[in-house]
């Protein structure tokens, strides 16, 4: 396979006939060479699913590269840029398959107050055996979350941070783009941070309420 400079890649891919065909064939090889490493944590090349997934990803990557050739700014190697696109396409598809059966409804049921972090659903009834210091702190945090975050933010936070659902899987189920969901969550975290500061509640205070062990 010939080594092309960034400029040569762009020129060849924008050309016609054999020059373009050769570049496309080489680009296919580039993509294919990277995929086993991209997928190594998830799918081995020995796995029967690997081949068809690799083929699908390679094809989609080629199309996306050609569509977005003009957006390549030359700040990295062209092949790195291409591998990046392939990684995004491959992992998006893997996540979609892995989380196919997941539903947002499966998350912990909200109690009357709407708090959905499992540990914050505390039964507030007084009990001499319960640990009031810890329960008070948990209830305080629970109330704070309830007051600062929208239902959407709470649900998204539990799904992504606690259940480990990929952002784009949660986003799709909420009819949003991944980027918009990130911003929603960032806003949620900022609100909590500011609220904690306003209450004069430091991280140390929270830790102090619990067992040091």
């Amino acid at each position: 396979m010939t080594d092309r400079t960034n400029e040569e890649w762009i020129a060849d891919l924008k050309s016609e006939g054999e020059q373009k065909e050769a570049a496309l064939a080489d680009l296919r090889s580039v993509i294919a060479s990277g995929l086993p490493y991209a997928l190594s944590n998830y799918l081995s090349p020995d796995n029967p699913q690997f081949h068809s997934l690799a083929e699908e990803v390679t094809q989609d990557t080629l199309l996306r590269v050609l569509d977005h050739l003009d957006s390549f700014e030359g700040r990295s190697r062209f092949t790195t840029w291409v591998h990046k696109i392939a990684v995004r396409i491959a992992l998006t598809e893997l996540r979609r398959r892995r989380w196919r059966d997941f539903s947002l409804d499966s998350l912990v049921e909200e109690n009357e107050d709407g708090v959905s972090f499992p540990s914050l659903m505390i039964d507030p009834s007084p009990n001499p055996d319960t640990l009031t210091q810890q329960n008070d702190m948990l209830m305080r945090i629970g109330r704070l979350i309830n007051e600062e975050l929208t239902d959407k933010q709470r649900q998204a936070m539990v799904a992504t941070a606690i259940e480990g659902v990929p952002l784009e899987e949660v986003a799709r189920r909420m009819d949003m783009k991944r980027n918009a969901l990130y911003k929603l969550l960032h806003d949620a975290r900022l609100r909590l941070k500011k609220r904690l500061a306003n209450e004069g509640l430091t991280i140390e205070d929270v830790w102090a309420a619990f067992d040091r062990g």
């Binding site: 790195t80 540990s119 640990l131 067992d211």
Partner: protein, 99 residues
């Protein structure tokens, strides 16, 4: 060590009587506290990071100081598992595929 780990460690070393039914901080609350702790006023979004992930990953691959050169990308990668996963995959490729 993170701030919360340092505090926990300090308290442990100061010593405290362990009560039989003492309660540990639940994992999900701990996760929440850490997330809030790591939140910055200004953060890159996933799209911001994706747009320059190729540059960033090459920096890391070449051993350059990515934290200094691209602090917002670095921070986002630390806190966003999905972008981190993509970064690590791209890095594996750069390390494995001959230039």
């Amino acid at each position: 060590m993170s701030l919360s780990e340092k505090i926990k460690d300090l308290l442990k070393r100061l010593g405290s009587s362990k009560e039989e039914n003492a309660m540990q901080m639940p994992a999900d609350v701990q996760k929440l506290i850490e997330m809030v702790e790591n939140t910055q006023e200004v953060e890159f979004s996933c799209e911001d990071v994706y747009n320059i992930l190729d540059q960033y990953t090459e920096l890391v691959y070449h051993g350059d100081d990515s934290a200094e050169l691209m602090p917002l990308v670095e921070h986002h990668i630390e806190i966003c598992p999905d972008c981190r996963e993509e970064f690590e995959a791209l890095l594996r490729i750069l390390e494995a595929v001959p230039a």
